[in-house]
């Protein structure tokens, strides 16, 4: 079975990339194909990267508080592109009340500070695998 393909993205103006990079590396070490978009990506650029890279997963890292604008936009664009089976996970500084809302909108998981890497890797592995098996 082919490798799980993950786009790790830093949307918006936030430049804090420690978490995104550590997770990208951990996913790579776990045998996944990881594409790191770099900083200051628009939702359009992120979805475009997912399309080009045939990504199974998009991981958004947002510490700036802009998640309520960015996440719905990404979900909307994915749907527009016929990519709404792509797993979207979010990490960063997200108040609980917003995390709830994001999950209702279609974000598969919101990983808050302190989440063990294994949990993130495991979640992505389990959920992305089912997408691959279906295609």
């Amino acid at each position: 079975m082919r490798k799980i393909r993950v786009v790790i993205a830093k949307p918006g103006l936030d430049g804090h990339d420690r978490g995104a990079k550590v997770i990208a590396r951990a996913l790579r070490d776990a045998g996944m194909e990881v594409i790191y978009t770099g900083l200051r990506q628009t939702p359009e650029q992120i979805v475009s990267a997912a399309l080009q890279e045939d990504a199974d997963v998009i991981g958004l890292s947002i510490l700036s508080g802009a998640h309520n604008h960015i996440c719905p936009e990404v979900l909307r664009l994915l749907k527009e592109q016929g990519l709404d089976d792509v797993l979207v996970v979010v990490g960063g500084i997200i108040p609980d009340i917003d995390a709830q809302r994001l999950k209702e909108m279609g974000v598969a998981a919101v990983f808050l500070p302190g989440t063990p890497l294994q949990d993130i890797v495991g979640f992505i592995d389990a959920h992305a695998r089912s997408r691959i098996e279906q295609t």
């Binding site: 918006g12 103006l13 420690r18 700036s64 508080g65 309520n68 108040p95 302190g114 294994q118």
Partner: protein
Amino acid sequence: MKTTNGTTTRRARWERETLEPALKKSPERAMPFTTISGRPVNRLYTADDLSGVNDKPDIPDPGAFPYTRGIHATGYRGKLWTMRQFAGFGTPEDTNRRYKALLRAGGTGLSVAFDLPTLMGRDPDDDLSRGEVGKCGVSIVSLADMETLFDEIPLADITTSMTINSPASMIFAMYLVVAERQGADWRRISGTIQNDILKEFIAQKEYIFPPRPSMRLITDVFAFCTAEVPRWNTISVSGYHIREAGATAAQELAFTLRDGIEYVQYGVDAGLHVDAFVPRLSFFFNAHSDFFEEIAKYRAARRIWATVMRDRFDARHDRSWKLRFHAQTAGVSLTAQQPQNNVVRTALQALAAVLGGANSLHTNSLDEALALPTESAATLALRTQQIIAHESGVTTVVDAMGGSYFVEALTRDLEREAYQYFDRIDAMGGMVEAIERGYPQREIADSAYRFQQVVEARDKIVVGVNDFVSGEEEPIPILYIDEDTSVRQVAKVETLRRTRDNEHVARSLDTLRAAAAGTSNTMPPLLECARAYATVGEMCDALRDVWGEYQEEAVI
């Protein structure tokens, strides 16, 4: 008297007669004994461990070169550190209110946190600003917002530190005009702009323009302030962000000081005399969790800086030798789980900063792994400093840790590691070149990954996170910033563009572009742009026109 393997007979006897039986009876815990930076820590330090870099003990007196024990002979007996709490959110009105509350609660200096659009030189109505306005700092669009920010706060009587980097010159120009309009004398006002672009490329990533034009903006500030605002700190050379990005203590120390060296070199190359501008360089370090390593780091920093300024740059004035620093407790150490624990973390980190001689200090609030601080959390953070200052007794003596075998050995070891990094970076041609090669970025990414693996393996315990975990927790109240700020700030910028003299703005931006394309100092044109109510976005766009934008090659 030494034995054949180098240990003294006294130590050999202790190990044989006291240590071995104790270990036999009760072995040590099975865990790596290292600092949070991964540095192995010996069981015991004695006078035997105290050899200086040149193999003689070096514990000079406070207030005397090379200032290991502090830059002030009287330490905190003379003057307490400035309690300077970083704050900012929402609109300028919101933040003005918070500043007044902090000053009423006993804060002794102001520190401005700007939102991401402002930090990145974009206006609130820019496409990329959507969702970001006022969220992690105050939104400042033009001079009008700066006037509101400092409404009823006399800039002549207070010092302000502004955490702003790429658009530092623009924001500084606005601040100067506000001060002038309040009747404050530029020759007497004091404060700081962070204005440290090198650490942006290395760690915080809030860059706009490429490295060399960015350095030019900074040397322009050096020259301008030397002449016009002589008491202003033109840079806060920062290690805080480098550390937060994952660096070890040694890397934080080395990269920060090497950045400082780079700024001094660029200033000298721009024709400034070293003693004319170096006294106004200040520093900003992290106050991280490993108590003694942090204290040693600050002491090493002072010793290194003094020595390098005197020996590498031939600085003669003692104010060029004396490293002054602000410290902030480590944001990255705060946990979302069991947030009350963060009060304890912050207190210990603040104590380390004080024992290390910080000249100014910010203490984090307990809720900052979740959001910007509520007023009550911010007040408790300030009280933490006040309790250390007034109840702990540590301020009654100068450099209490001086002479500690462990701390002196750590100080020396960190100093040695820093000089090794300097050599490596010098060999690459300097810090700008090292950054272009991705060297510090890679070092930091490696340290960050290493640390995460150590935590995952539970070789480092983080209380409440990988041990001593609670079940379901009661959510705590947090500061929630909604889109109202964005709506208000966007409306303000639209009104501003309609009501100001747009010809004046256009002319002033043209003058700015011309200065940027040439060699004349950018501060006077920026002051004119500020007075014309040009926006931060417009001023930065003018410079983007001339210099372009920097794109990093990401290093994972």
